[in-house]
């Protein structure tokens, strides 16, 4: 029971990497299929569709950053992994924004990217505009990342 704090914190780190990474994997997989379809018909569009394909991959990186910060703060990566249950629960809560927002925003961003690829296939000159639509979804993943970073860092300095 006395190590339950670490268990909760580790669960938070795992969820951040797991859910955000799953979202990115689904998203990049989906955009990858659409990108392959575009390149089958017009190989010259490879560079452009590759950028659109990679956009939903960022959420997985954000999840990894939070997981890494949490693991580092709780001492799993070196130090004394001994924190209170309350602190462990706080870490778990801090990881949830990027875990959940990362999962759903990556899938939504993939859908927007696939639509943008449709635009790109018909109007290659509109590449800049076609990038904007999926990037708008990124805003919410970044907001969730910020909340998670601020929370994880703030919890580290708390004395509970």
């Amino acid at each position: 029971m006395e190590n339950l704090g670490v268990v909760f914190a580790l669960l938070g780190a795992a969820l951040a990497a797991l859910l955000a990474g799953t979202g990115s994997a689904i998203g990049v997989g989906r955009t990858g299929q659409a990108a392959a379809g575009i390149v089958t018909e017009d190989p010259s569009k490879f560079g452009k569709v590759l950028i659109l394909e990679l956009l939903p991959g960022t959420q997985g990186i954000y999840g990894l950053i939070i997981a890494f910060l949490t693991l580092s703060n709780i001492g799993i990566l070196g130090g004394n992994p001994n924190i209170s249950i309350a602190k462990g629960l706080l870490y778990l809560m801090a990881c949830l924004p990027i875990a959940i927002v990362g999962l759903f925003s990556a899938i939504s961003q993939a859908n927007a990217s696939v639509s943008s690829m449709g635009l790109l296939s018909k109007r290659p000159d509109q590449f800049g505009k076609s990038m904007i639509f999926p990037i708008m979804v990124e805003t919410y993943a970044i907001l969730a990342l910020l909340v998670s970073i601020l929370s994880v860092n703030a919890i580290n300095g708390m004395n509970i």
């Binding site: 659409a34 379809g37 575009i38 859908n111 696939v114 690829m117 018909k122």
Partner: protein, 321 residues
């Protein structure tokens, strides 16, 4: 879930939509002086015009189905578009047997049931060789033609069976574009049957048995109206979602034919903005078929020296603008 999204297929179709004829190309075709000029323009668009007009259409159709077979592992999802070919083949086989003639060129090869199978079923009167829903109408149509020698009665039976099969296939589909196509096709055919029956003075019992069930049309009222007057038919249509068919029906039969095709094209146009599902694939297929129909009319008009306005009136709306 992801399996039914078809992102690869839709992305390829988005690129292929660029090869469909757009309005400026259609204007050029209509403005061309001769059929030969039209064929030259089509050749520039990648159409195979060198082997003759009939082969050109067959080749374009084959290209579309080859593309779809690359994109979808099970082509039976598009059966709704091929059912009319099956029933055409069945009709041809029955008529050829009853008249004891042979004419292999009348068959359409692209159907859900192989032509040989239909021929064998009709030749041996072995109806169980056919798919279940074709067996009973095939036997009924064959016996009707054999006993009455009335080709029109045979057509009525098989046309209705075809429409019922399209309606059933549409309802079974989870793709909106296919459901819309089936519903609008059946409704348009019912309206056409009602108008034709009125002009030829068919009895109510025959009209009722010819109209296929359709959710968006009150077929009982339509059948009764078809025994009364054109205005009675218009009255039935005015209370349905096909009220704007009235103007085209007043204008001419060919205007109504155009209206039927345009209705479907307008309904499926939203698939241009749908990045997932089978909808854009089905829409592309419908768009290509409608495009081929327009080009057929156009070439025939040019061949017969029809004026531009005459041809333009008969052109169908385009899927891509």
């Amino acid at each position: 879930m992801a399996k039914n999204l078809y992102p690869y297929a839709v992305a390829r179709i988005r690129s292929k939509e660029l090869s469909l004829l757009n309005s400026s190309m259609m204007d050029q075709l209509i403005g061309a002086k001769t059929e030969e000029d039209c064929l030259n323009l089509l050749a520039g668009k990648g159409w195979d015009t060198e082997s003759g007009v009939d082969k050109m259409f067959a080749s374009e159709q084959k290209k579309t189905w080859d593309l779809l077979s690359e994109l979808v592992s099970d082509l039976s999802v598009f059966n709704v578009f091929l059912l009319k070919n099956d029933y055409h083949n069945l009709k041809a086989a029955i008529k050829l047997r009853c008249t004891n003639t042979s004419m292999p060129s009348v068959y359409i090869l692209n159907g859900t049931v192989p032509v040989e199978k239909i021929q064998a079923a009709v030749e041996k009167s072995q109806w169980d060789l056919l798919p279940e829903e074709m067996q009973s109408p095939a036997q009924e149509a064959f016996e009707a033609l054999l006993h009455t020698r009335d080709g029109q009665l045979c057509d009525f039976i098989l046309d209705k069976a075809c429409l019922c099969a399209i309606e059933k296939a549409g309802k079974a589909s989870d793709t909106e574009a296919i459901r819309e196509y089936a519903e609008r096709t059946v409704a348009a055919a019912d309206i056409k049957i009602a108008v034709r029956a009125l002009h030829t003075g068919k009895p109510l019992s025959l009209i009722e048995s010819s109209l296929a069930p359709c959710d968006s049309l009150d077929t009982d009222r339509l059948a009764k109206a078809a025994t009364q007057s054109e205005e009675a038919i218009f009255d039935v249509l005015s209370t349905s979602r096909y009220a704007d068919a009235i103007d085209s029906l007043r204008e001419s039969p060919s205007a109504f034919e155009s209206w039927c095709d345009n209705l479907i094209i307008r309904k499926i146009r939203k698939e241009l903005y749908n990045p997932f599902t089978l909808g854009p694939l089905a829409a592309f297929l419908i768009a290509k078929e409608t495009e081929l129909k327009s080009v057929r009319i156009l070439l025939s008009g040019k061949r017969n020296g029809m004026p531009e306005d005459f041809i333009r009136q008969r052109m169908r709306e385009l899927y891509v603008v």
